[in-house]
């Protein structure tokens, strides 16, 4: 019988935020239609490097395995993307896996992306409906508008758009395209629009829309194909008009 085909995977490992990183190489048995997560599952089952050294299982995050939860973002062969949709047969070997660099590292391939949720809160990216009595159904939304909003609503908070952005780094507090897109989404919603002014004020705050310099890597990196440049430009227009005329109406 022919020898089983194997895949080489090199992983940047780091036991904790303060430990020094190191690279380890693993060889994994090839199977049809494998994705990077399948490799990581195999490595977790048998954490032995390709030169026979026993090691700790590699930490990583993944849930849905179909590009809807956002958890599995990492840097694969130098580019930030979802591991579950990264098919082994389409990748150059050895496959290099690294954690994202723009978020605090937890361990191995796991990073902490809670800044995205904090920023979404700072920018008021929700529709406030809680109160002491039922306020009834909201207005209906025209299908054309639903279509636009649907595309924006597909964001999975994976953080790829932040990872690839030259303006997201330790010298700048730019919130990133995902959050700007949320501002646009919630301003489009007829109930959400009642708080548009508050969002547009927030998005002119620290790390706001003014930090976007249109390198436009975000729109290339987004696994959900969200028109992020369009969202940035639209929020730029809304924020500008709000900064000029907002005080008249509020």
């Amino acid at each position: 019988m022919a020898e089983a085909k194997t895949i080489l995977v090199r992983i940047k490992r780091q036991a904790g935020p303060r430990e020094t990183p190191r690279w380890e190489e693993f060889s994994v048995r090839w199977r049809p239609n494998m994705n990077v997560i399948a490799c990581l599952i195999d490595i977790a089952e048998n954490p032995v490097t390709s030169d026979g050294q026993k090691t700790t299982p590699v930490s990583y995050e993944a849930n849905c395995l179909e590009e809807v939860c956002g958890a599995c973002a990492m840097v694969i062969n130098g580019r930030s993307r979802q591991a579950c949709s990264a098919l082994v047969d389409h990748l150059e070997q050895p496959i290099r896996l690294e954690p994202m660099t723009k978020f605090p590292l937890v361990r191995d391939l796991v990073v902490d992306r809670s800044r995205m949720f904090n920023d979404a809160k700072r920018m008021r990216c929700w529709v406030p409906i809680d109160g002491t009595y039922a306020i009834g159904p909201g207005p209906r939304i025209a299908p054309e508008r639903q279509e636009v909003a649907y595309a924006l609503s597909r964001c999975i908070f994976c953080g790829n758009c932040l990872e690839v952005c030259p303006k997201v780094n330790e010298h700048s507090d730019f919130v990133g395209a995902a959050i700007v897109n949320q501002v646009r989404l919630f301003n489009m919603h007829p109930t959400g629009a009642m708080h548009a002014h508050e969002r547009l004020r927030a998005v002119r705050g620290p790390g706001g829309i003014q930090e976007c310099d249109n390198a436009q890597n975000c729109v290339k990196a987004c696994p959900k194909g969200i028109p992020l440049t369009e969202s940035n430009n639209d929020v730029n227009r809304q924020a500008l008009l709000d900064s000029i005329f907002g005080w008249i109406f509020h």
Partner: protein, 231 residues
Amino acid sequence: MPGKTAATAEIQPEAAVVPAAVPDRSYIWDKIHSLTGIVPIGAFLLEHFWSNSYALVSVDRYNQQSFDLQTIPWRVPVEALLIWIPLLYHGFYGIFIWSKGKANLSRYSYGANWMYVMQRWTGLIAFVFIGWHVYVERFITQGRSNYFDVVTTLSNPLYLTFYVIGILAVSFHFGNGLWQFSNKWGLAVGARAQRKAAWVAGAIGVLFAVVGLLIVCSFVFHWQPFQFYAQ
């Protein structure tokens, strides 16, 4: 709270209640930087290429135009207000913006990312070129530069090369800057509008480069294709 984002940063506990962000001054400073690129700096660039195009008519017309500009009332305050201060602000704030970004072209070599990097380097080249250009054509000639001063400068191959590079850098920076502006001020939002804005901005950039180089040719070769206007 805007957290530090490097891999070495401490993990922040997720906050239950986060106050809304409020506008800070950086929004307005960024908008002013963006605007100064178009008016007055871009507008002055247009005026500058226009006035220098008199070289394509005749030496006399060029010298007349120079003299007219050199003898406007309130020359120094007008220049300071409309050119020096905005240019210095745009230049230094541009370098500040540059310092807040970390280029990643080697990993993500997409078109717009190239433009991002080029915008910064052409801005720096423009800054150095303009500084030297002003020193040579304004201060050395004590504000009385004429046709032959320019011919003298351009007769040095080194200076000529610097002029060509300067003109190309400034034209690129202005053309790409117009495209930036259409994004940053939300003038082109949809995909089709973005494409059109890119074409228009690119065409204006190319136009500036071509006219700029023709002006240089005019000085170097004493080439005056519009001379018949003056006859």
